[in-house]
Symmetry: none
């Protein structure tokens, strides 16, 4: 049986940017476009050329994608020709093979928001689409507020779609702009559209999550016959977000009732990268990944209930709707039970630490992890600190040096040119063997700008490690993440530091304290000690 092809249209770079707090740079847009391409998306909507400098810059040097890059814009304004509409011109000047124009399909919006006649709006749709088609563009027409418009005035809403179809639009996209339409309504109205003479393989669907049903609404339209799916990675988008491609893609690929009937451009290999791509997007927008995200969330295959965990030990399918590895995810069973111990042994084995099944130190390590995670530590993001914790419990971390004290000062005052400037200075006092080492550093960078207290501390700590200096000279701090989190009953600061060395090794360490400087110093120390340990440096006798 041949399966119908569904086309995936991603609007992360345009509608996704309407998310509160999200603002992509041009470089980030390129990064995301590459991720979408790797995933096997058919259309990548890059933004609205002419609407803002970032989007214009993106289209001025567009990424080379296998996916069809699409420029978004609006149907021409009434009272001028398509040829003379500067907004439309900016969209066409982006030079993409594909364009998407949004236009009104709801009579009330035409007369009240635009303030033009119903016929003028149809003429704008017709002329704008025809103009794009004449310029050899594959043209998508986003019918804004289509479902609300259909409920208010079905004849007019359909006329808007047919105007676009007759003008040559390849795709007519039914948009539930306000996100309030329910799945059964979406299904029934999509069927009515097809009955009116627009075939399903020219119909797209664009939903929002305002009733928590964007995915279900999208699938209802597919069931009714629509063949293009618009959405965003991780469900980014205005208000509650757009339909999430991160959820739709695995549902279409892995649920038999869809997989038997439909195919997309996403290969099983690309699907296996889904978690990585989802997390990468969160990295770019600097968000804590949502643990409960379907398929790719850290909790999506976490089994806390004791009954479930023991059944899973017999057969994972008993409490898992899919095999988590198909989307790059993994089962997670809390570390506090028997399954936790075997997990722990596996992790330790990966670090080269073979520990027997009945080693009496295993429960102690698990308890330690539990206590420290309750205090705010996060070991899944700081494997090097986890390794140090385990090695300490196993008596494998020597005392390389002792931190006697440190002090960091930030001072902000006027300089001789009467400008306010800052200066951070750190003093670190160590005991290495029998030697006492005092180091002091400022945090000035090459341009003479102050980089703050943590930078000063890192420089002071690394300035004179005596006999160990050779081992840490090639080490640098490459990332620094700060989170305010809960440690027991009060807020604490968690700092995660990523370090890198000359061999290209990268490792992450964590520190937690109510004092951000202390938390940072703890993570810095772990980073140095891990490096000394991994390089096989021998401690000085003291």
């Amino acid at each position: 049986m041949t399966r119908a092809r569904l086309y995936l249209y991603d609007t992360t770079l345009r509608d996704g940017q309407q998310t509160q707090g999200v603002q992509f740079s041009t470089a980030e847009k390129h990064q995301i476009a590459a991720m979408l391409d790797q995933l096997g998306i058919d259309y990548v909507e890059g933004g609205w050329p002419g609407a803002n400098p970032t989007d214009s810059e993106f289209f001025a040097s567009p990424p080379a994608t296998r996916a069809t890059l699409t420029a978004f814009g609006m149907t021409k304004r009434a009272g001028r020709s398509a040829e003379n509409d500067d907004v439309l011109a900016a969209v066409l000047n982006a030079g993409t093979n594909s364009v998407c124009l949004v236009g009104k399909a709801h009579d009330y919006h035409v007369t009240h928001a635009l303030g033009i006649t119903l016929e003028d709006n149809l003429e704008s749709i017709r002329a704008s689409v025809a103009h794009c088609v004449a310029q050899s563009r594959e043209t998508h027409f986003d019918a804004e507020h289509f479902f609300d418009g259909y409920k208010a005035n079905p004849d007019y809403a359909l006329q808007a779609l047919h105007a676009a179809q007759e003008a040559g639009a390849r795709w007519i996209v039914l948009c539930d702009t306000n996100g309030g339409t329910l799945p059964n309504e979406i299904g029934a109205i999509t069927e009515a559209v097809i009955a009116s003479g627009i075939p399903g393989d020219r119909l797209g669907i664009h939903c929002h999550d305002d009733t928590g049903q964007a995915v279900a609404c999208t699938l209802a339209a597919v069931e009714a016959g629509a063949r293009q799916i618009q959405g965003t990675l991780n469900g980014l988008g205005e208000r509650c977000g757009n339909a999430s491609l991160t959820t739709l893609i695995p549902t279409l690929a892995l649920k038999p009732s869809f997989a038997a009937r439909f195919e997309t451009g996403v290969s099983p290999e690309a699907l296996g990268q889904l978690l990585r791509i989802s997390r990468k997007l969160d990295d770019i927008i600097n968000r804590v990944p949502l643990r409960t995200l379907p398929y790719v969330g850290a909790s999506a295959f976490a089994h806390k209930a004791g009954l479930h965990a023991s059944a899973i030990a017999k057969d994972p399918s008993t409490y898992e709707h899919i095999d988590p590895s198909l989307v790059g995810n993994a089962r997670l069973v809390p570390m506090s039970n028997q399954a936790g111990q075997s997990n722990l042994r596996m992790v330790l084995a990966d670090m080269g630490l073979a520990v027997a099944r009945d080693d009496p130190r295993l429960p102690g390590i698990l308890d330690d992890i539990k206590t420290r995670e309750e205090a705010g530590y996060a070991y899944d993001s700081a494997q090097a600190s986890f390794e140090l914790l385990a090695r300490r419990a196993l008596g494998q971390v020597p005392q390389f040096f002792e931190v006697k004290r440190y002090r960091v000062t930030v001072e902000r005052r006027k300089n001789k040119y009467d400008q306010m400037v800052s200066l951070s200075e750190a003093v670190v006092v160590l005991k290495i063997g029998d030697d006492k080492k005092l180091s002091v550093s400022e945090s000035m960078d090459a341009e003479g700008h102050d980089r703050g207290p943590v930078n000063a501390l890192a420089k002071a700590l690394a300035k004179d490690l005596g006999p160990y200096q050779g081992a840490i000279d090639d080490m640098k701090l490459v990332d620094f993440k700060v989170r305010i989190t809960q440690g027991g009953t009060e807020a604490v600061t968690r700092v995660i530091i990523d370090s890198e060395d000359g061999q290209g090794r990268r490792w992450s360490t964590v520190g937690v304290s109510a004092n951000i400087v202390d938390a940072s110093f703890e993570a810095l120390l772990d980073a140095v000690i891990w490096k000394l340990l991994r390089d096989g440096v021998r401690p000085c006798p003291s």
Copy 2:
């Protein structure tokens, strides 16, 4: 037309507690039960008496609720009588009027997870339900893995339901335990159950969000005839969570296609408390409320796109699927460089700043926002800093005081008990009118713990504001968020501070710098100045 009654069954206190990181105390369970009662929930499942000390303690001193308090448990084990099953006895000994027993409905789970015969399982269901009914309990039967079981062996799955029905269960609850079933399957199978002889008004539905469709699955079962809805507040629950009552309740109440046919025990007044109840639960479990939550999220009615904002200014219904006040929420027009001049004018009007459409200062303010957001500022999360930016451009922020300099020191060393301890100290020098004010503070909290350099700075800044002191005495720092972000070409630190005053006002300010202490100080300063301005404090002449 009479509307069918839908019964709401909340399992926040039992299934909700399977959420990773959630563990309710008995006192918290009482608090949540009271919230559910206020909302108008019909059944409150309090936990599993006998399974853990907290749940047993909760039922030992149960809350007085209008809702029917329900104890959860499991059908008896094979090979013993219902009367002699200690697990079942613990459930009945809780003394509630209502009990819910989970039992197997999937043949594979019976033979593989339980390891008993199919007939033994049916007997366990029959005998357990009959025993509860004989003890005058309203009995719910949770048919675990029902949908997967029906797909594998429909006859056996239905036999399990009928065993419970014949034994006198008031409610037979169809559970999609693994959360992988799709809405159309849920609808079709629920219809098949009704066709088999179990009327819809004895059927409940229990869904999980593993494909992001728990709400849609629940509504599909209601469409098919089920009349009891199980779910949790905010969609808490194992893995991706349970069906969210916080989303289902307003959908049932406010969407015409459901409201015309169904009613629940939730009054319009209670619905107006939905946001407050949702946030209160987040408070209890110490979570940052999810901004994108349907209906009650902080972003659920946020309009970032310039085009949308200008239409909303004419008529809010153009881009809102419901009136946000019906669920206790409010419209939000965030400022960002995406936004156009009409957004800006609306936001300014909300602050009491009427600015004419053609005011020449508007483009300058937008440019300023753009430049600063590129440098790392985020004004949609820091409305008070945005207001100061706009008011400065309009010449409405007087110079209350001048910061001459500050210095903050963090020192970590051994105390007299040979323990490593930290101490943070800050000095702030201000000029107020003609007076120079030097203030110094430590960051010690009531328990003698160091809270770090930002805390010390905040205390020093607020210590002696001379003539302004009265205005800031009731002000406190309630949240502090740190992000490493991109400011132009290099990483900078963005700090957002939430402040609150004695009138319960809450405001957010932002600071950005490569130096975290400087970024924090900038946000602190904005917080103080916003408060002075809003309180109408007059600046001292200098």
